[in-house]
């Protein structure tokens, strides 16, 4: 949920686009429509990453290896983003009318989904112990359900945080707020990936 709020507050994940859309169409309902599209794209990106991992979690005896690998993967992406600091150019080719697609691609490209994996595996790890003797199929269904739940909670938190900012800017603060509230989170973002990955690895080892 914390990660969701964090993603939602980050202008790079799109809330200013909702403000722009509402202003362009001169009606406030466009604001919520655009936020919903952004949330949908983000949600799908979360699922696209979490679901494959939910299948992997059925391999209970490999649990710690999976968690370590996932953690290392997230750390690697963090380091990569820290070094390259470039945003993929294909994102700039998505037309502004296709916000859900853009949100999906932006979340994928920046590892927003991957950031959740160690958190998700941590949750599964706890429940995994209880379900240790259950059938693999049940475990998988359970973990897929958890993945869905994590993605929903995360996206709701993200959408809520983004909506609060977009709404504040649209209704009260005005466009000048945009340049005041926008901080370069590139480094923080990359470091967050590394920290989350490291915690994932550490909890798996301990």
């Amino acid at each position: 949920m914390g990660a969701g709020i964090y993603h939602g507050l980050n202008p790079g994940m799109g809330w200013p686009l909702a403000v722009s859309a509402a202003l362009m169409e001169k009606r406030r309902s466009a604001l919520w429509g655009a936020l919903a599209a952004l949330a949908l794209g983000h949600f799908l990106a979360m699922l696209a990453i979490l679901l494959p991992f939910s299948i992997l979690t059925t391999l209970v005896e490999w649990q710690s290896e999976i968690r370590i690998t996932a953690g290392l993967l997230v750390i690697a992406l963090g380091i990569y983003l820290l070094i390259t600091r470039r945003h993929p150019r294909f994102l700039a080719r998505v037309p502004p009318s296709r916000l859900a697609l853009w949100s999906f691609l932006a979340a994928m490209a920046h590892g927003a989904g991957l950031m959740l994996v160690p958190i998700y595996l941590g949750i599964c790890g706890q429940s995994g112990v209880d379900a240790g003797h259950g059938a693999a199929g049940m475990l998988m269904a359970g973990n897929a359900g958890t993945a869905l739940l994590v993605a929903i909670v995360h996206t709701l938190a993200m959408a809520l945080a983004g909506s609060v900012l977009a709404g504040l800017m649209y209704f009260w603060l005005g466009l000048k707020f945009l340049t005041k509230a926008w901080f370069n989170l590139d480094v923080v973002w990359a470091l967050s990936l590394i920290v989350v990955g490291a915690i994932g690895v550490a909890t798996a080892v301990i």
Binding site: S20, L23, K26, H87, A92, R93, P95, L178, T179, N184
Partner: protein
């Protein structure tokens, strides 16, 4: 990379108008005969400064024969769209192409009085990576820096059509051609866009053999210069529609979309109508069904003249054509400035109703026959040409040279580079400022002006005015 967006980036045109006013201007200097290197002049435009109206720094290039013309910034307010991912670029570098040499200079003006060359892209590299030559208009946008070109491949630039190419906005590497489907577009001049609405508009001058050695009268009279404007799906890089303004409307040059992206219209200036020598402005707009339209909304008549007072090119016509060579739109989308380079006039039109512009102000300066002098009695060669408007819309700057070989044809014997400024009245009206007059060094002419922190022909806004 900044921690916060560059303070000169503004979400909307309205916010840009409220920003602090410019204190410096950057003006290009060109050596018309290529005997001296071209340069960038930094001009003090702060009335409170002791060096007001003076060139406070000049940077000259290490080559000759570039012929500087238009230029632009590496980054502007367009960076404030989250779609692009470059919100933290600095407005720091000027991209200056040589229209004759096809060489491109990247100039670091972080400290304007210590402006220095950051990178040079040689013509061979441009040609190898794009097949284009004669780079011209610069705009920063979604995929980086977009540069229009006037020539294709080969020595005379006629091997293949000219077009637009894209440069990386951080490394200044040339990434390649913009167009994926150019349709019928075979000439190129200016371009601009509406970023949230995802369209681009481009225009046409002529191919290099039609301008490099001077205007080709036979081509003009047989309507062989450009007379179409093209509408593109900006991000799909596809020509959606081409509007032919009519072949008599020769040289459809500057494209000026409304700065407020909620408005889906803009203007295009046409140099000369070959049936009557008029200059004209077209308004283009998008209909509800998505198709584009254009209509002539301003005409400026030629002025009869004694053939003895006219250059050889114009003697047969016994008239001075207005020659609408540059236009610029104030950030509030209210006033359109129209340079009549032949007449020696700068017009100010109220375009609040873009379909029914009205003349709101006028300054007379220079001119083929009129030859008006500035208030200080000094020279003003040629006529008002490249025009730039301050962000707040209160000051209008302009220089006088059109293009080296064309200056010599329309104003034989004239020489010099000057920059002047006019004040805009509270309710319109245009008055030449008596205190601001820049005379460029001997042997130099002057072309485009860029104002510190952005101006009315650089920044593209991603959010509407509210």
């Amino acid at each position: 990379m900044n921690i916060k967006p560059d303070p000169t980036f503004h979400a909307s045109a309205k916010l840009a108008m409220e920003a602090p006013v410019e204190k410096l201007a950057f003006t290009l200097m060109l050596s018309p005969d290529g005997t001296q290197p071209d340069g960038l002049a930094v001009v003090d435009v702060d009335p409170k400064s002791k060096t007001y109206g003076q060139i406070v720094h000049s940077l000259f290039m290490p080559n000759t024969g570039d012929e500087f013309h238009h230029f632009g910034w590496n980054a502007c307010s367009s960076a404030l769209s989250p779609l692009t991912g470059h919100a933290f670029l600095e407005r720091r570098y000027l991209i200056i192409p040589g229209i004759r040499s096809s060489r491109i200079y990247i100039i670091d003006v972080k400290e304007p009085l210590k402006a220095k060359i950051h990178k040079i892209i040689e013509p061979e590299e441009l040609m190898a990576k794009t097949g284009y030559s004669r780079p011209h208009t610069i705009h920063c946008g979604p995929e980086g820096i977009y540069v229009s070109t006037l020539g294709g491949g080969g020595k005379d630039g006629t091997d293949g059509p000219p077009g637009i190419f894209i440069m990386d906005c951080e490394t200044f590497e040339i990434l390649g051609r913009y167009e994926m489907d150019r349709g019928v577009q075979d000439k190129q001049y200016d371009f601009w866009w509406n970023l949230p609405r995802n369209y681009m508009v481009s225009s046409e001058w002529g191919l290099p053999p039609q301008f490099e050695n001077g205007i080709v009268a036979e081509d003009l009279l047989s309507n062989k210069y450009g007379h179409s404007i093209h509408f593109w799906d900006l991000r799909a890089r596809k020509n959606m529609q081409t509007i032919d303004l009519g072949e008599n409307h020769q040289m459809a040059l500057e494209i000026r979309p409304a700065h407020d992206p909620a408005k889906e219209y803009g203007f295009c200036g046409v140099v000369v109508d070959t049936t009557n020598l008029q200059g004209s402005i077209f308004t283009w707009w998008r209909d509800d069904d998505g198709t584009w339209q254009a209509r002539k909304v301003i005409t400026i008549d030629p002025v009869p003249a004694d053939p003895d007072d006219l250059p050889p090119l114009l003697k047969g016509f016994s008239a001075v054509p207005p020659l609408v060579t540059d236009i610029d739109l104030s950030l509030d989308d209210k006033y359109l400035y129209v340079a009549c380079w032949g007449l020696g006039e700068m017009h100010q039109y109220d375009v609040s109703d873009p379909m029914n512009p009205t003349l709101a102000g006028k300054v007379e300066l220079g001119g083929i026959v009129a030859n008006h002098k500035p208030p200080n009695g000094k020279d003003f060669a040629y006529g008002p040409q490249m025009v730039e408007v301050s962000r707040d819309g209160r000051r209008v700057y302009w220089t006088n040279s059109l293009y080296s070989t064309w200056d010599d044809q329309f104003y034989p014997g004239d020489e010099g580079g000057q920059m002047v400024m006019a004040d805009v009245g509270e309710n319109g009206g245009l008055t030449l400022n008596k205190d601001f007059y820049v005379d460029f060094p001997k042997g130099y002419r002057s072309h485009q002006i860029r104002l510190e922190g952005g101006d009315c022909s650089t920044d593209s806004f991603c959010y509407p005015n509210v």
